[in-house]
């Protein structure tokens, strides 16, 4: 079943068009990687879905409901949980408070408490630091925290913007290990933004590539990479002018 459908989405910041006529479909339980170079419009796409920036044209549907132009809190309450670029923990709140904030919009306190326990089970490190300020965690720990916080909302879809940004390679491995485990355990639907296609190839799944605000390539990550299409699209060579 289609969970997220984006059709003909355009976003402009003043004169600048950050996203042009972008479309994507995401089925329940599926993983989609959105890749592309700096300034391709990846984060803009995420922000538009999350309701943080208002699209100039196009339509976004979540679970069949039109959410175009809705407020971020409304979209979050419909099950779209966003982990924005740069981690965005509430540095002055404790780890525990960060997590409880994620559970805030849920009515069931008992369920939220159970989820908190299960988060602490999966992340013993967070339990140790639960009463400490979230801002004092390391980058990798903060990334774990925001993912855990996103899960506390019981989302239908988790969107993660550049989870590997500014992290050491070893820590990136840990983050992805976690994501894959969660995906398997909870049948999560994932929308992951990364600059490079390496992770998409390693993880497997569908991938789309944005360049200068347009979708230039879409398909199975491994197949695309093997064919060399990713490289060509990434650097903007058309097939005719392939480099020697």
């Amino acid at each position: 079943m289609t969970l997220l459908a984006v059709e003909g989405l355009s976003v402009r910041y003043g004169q600048l068009t950050a996203l042009r006529d972008a479309s994507l479909m995401l089925d329940e339980g599926e993983t989609l990687f959105v890749t592309g170079p700096n300034g391709a419009g990846k984060s803009t796409l995420m922000k538009a879905i999350a309701g943080v920036v208002r699209p100039a044209a196009g339509c976004i549907r979540l679970g069949g409901r039109d959410i175009t132009g809705e407020a971020p809190e409304t979209i979050a309450r419909l099950g779209f949980s966003m982990v924005p670029e740069g981690r965005q923990v509430f540095g002055e709140l404790t780890v525990d408070e960060n997590l409880r904030l994620g559970a805030g919009m849920r009515g069931d306190r008992a369920g939220a408490a159970r989820d908190l326990e299960s988060v602490f089970e999966s992340f013993p490190m967070l339990k140790e630091r639960r009463d400490g300020a979230a801002g004092l965690l390391s980058g990798g720990q903060q990334q774990m925290l925001v993912i855990a916080r996103a899960l506390m909302t019981r989302p239908r879809l988790v969107a993660i913007d550049e989870p590997s940004l500014g992290l050491a390679p070893l820590v990136i491995d840990q983050v992805y290990e976690l994501l894959l485990r969660l995906r398997a355990e909870r049948r999560l639907t994932l929308l992951v933004v990364e600059q490079s296609s390496t992770r998409a190839t390693m993880t497997g799944g569908r991938m789309m590539l944005l360049r200068s605000g347009r979708v230039v390539l879409e398909g199975d990550a491994r197949e695309l990479n093997a064919s060399g299409a990713v490289e060509r699209a990434y650097f903007g060579y058309s097939d005719a002018e392939e480099p020697a």
């Binding site: 999350a50 407020a71 971020p72 809190e73 949980s81 509430f90 709140l93 994620g102 805030g104 919009m105």
Partner: protein
């Protein structure tokens, strides 16, 4: 010793007013980056609502006729009401405007409230005696302290404790603190923007009402500009405390109150009329030393 006690209570009670005012401004600044210059007019409004609208010199109680036990919560509610109303009628419509526009709008709103009062009550200060029981003096450690000062300080402590408990222990409090740090992220976690902002306005307005009460009991007059000087000092306190830090706003409020009273005592007699100049010179020194304020939040950042 008795003189020290007297000075201490002078400083604490004046500081209390500044601290509560600064808190009211900082709360709203925290969630929407608005420096609300209409705050001082909320203070005047909540007091004038007690009076019958007349331009005559005599004072006729209107809503102020309620018994004293009801009067205090009543004034506080009026403060909250006018504050909440201004959010719904004015600031909500400017939600995506930049901070400068918001600030100008708050100036305009302040003028509207002030001129409304001017129209209804004229600019003549009204003498007004409410809660006369607070005018007496009590003896503490040999010093004779006005009961009002003791009550003001005690009430401020209670308010600060209650507000801290609210912010630390309740779900709304958690949402407000989160929104103050990163509003967009809080919204992406389902925090309802309008509700958090409305709550901030309500609390801020309640504080304005409380300040109004303290001023009117102390001076015995209701003046249209009564909120202005408190608002000005309170704003300075939020800047010195570090814009965005509630804790800093309260501490700076008390510091300015303390400095004012202390200057009044230690300055040579000839210089006392210029006390404020000395106080603000200190303010400048503090800002040169720490332009970001004494307790600037580490994570404070521009809202996009």
């Amino acid at each position: 010793m008795t003189a020290v006690l007297q000075i201490l209570f002078d400083a604490l009670s004046l500081g209390s007013l500044y601290a509560l005012g600064a808190l009211g401004i900082a709360l709203i600044f925290g969630v929407m980056r608005l420096v609300n210059f209409a705050h001082g007019d909320y203070i005047s409004f909540s007091i004038f609502a007690l009076l019958w609208p007349t331009t005559a010199a005599t004072t006729i109680l209107f809503l102020g006729q309620v018994p004293p036990a009801v009067l205090i919560p009543f004034v506080i509610l009026i403060g909250a009401g006018v504050s909440v109303l201004s959010e719904i009628l004015v600031f909500r419509r400017l939600r995506d405007a930049n901070p400068a526009t918001l600030m100008i709008a708050s100036f305009a709103l302040g003028f509207v409230i002030k001129n409304l009062l001017l129209m209804l009550y004229s600019s003549r200060p009204k003498s007004l005696s409410i809660l006369p029981g607070l005018a007496q003096q009590v003896e503490i450690g040999g010093a004779r302290i006005p009961l009002l000062q003791v009550v003001t300080v005690a009430a401020t402590i209670v308010i600060l404790i209650a507000l801290t408990a609210f912010l630390k222990r309740t779900r709304f409090g958690l949402e407000m603190r989160a929104a103050a740090q990163d509003f967009t992220m809080a919204r992406m976690l389902g925090v309802r923007a309008n509700r958090v902002i409305l709550l901030a306005f309500a609390i801020s307005g309640m504080l304005a009402g409380a300040i109004g009460l303290a001023i009117v009991v102390q001076t015995g007059t209701a003046d249209i500009n009564m909120g202005l000087s408190v608002m000005l000092v309170a704003f300075i306190a939020t800047v010195i405390g570090g814009l965005g830090s509630l804790y800093g706003a309260v501490v700076a409020g008390f510091l300015i109150g303390g400095a004012s009273v202390l200057m009044q005592v230690i300055l040579p007699l000839d210089a006392r009329p210029f006390r404020d100049a000395f106080v603000y010179a200190l303010v400048i020194v503090v800002l040169l030393w720490r332009p970001q304020g004494l307790f600037a939040p580490r994570t404070a950042k521009q809202r996009v």
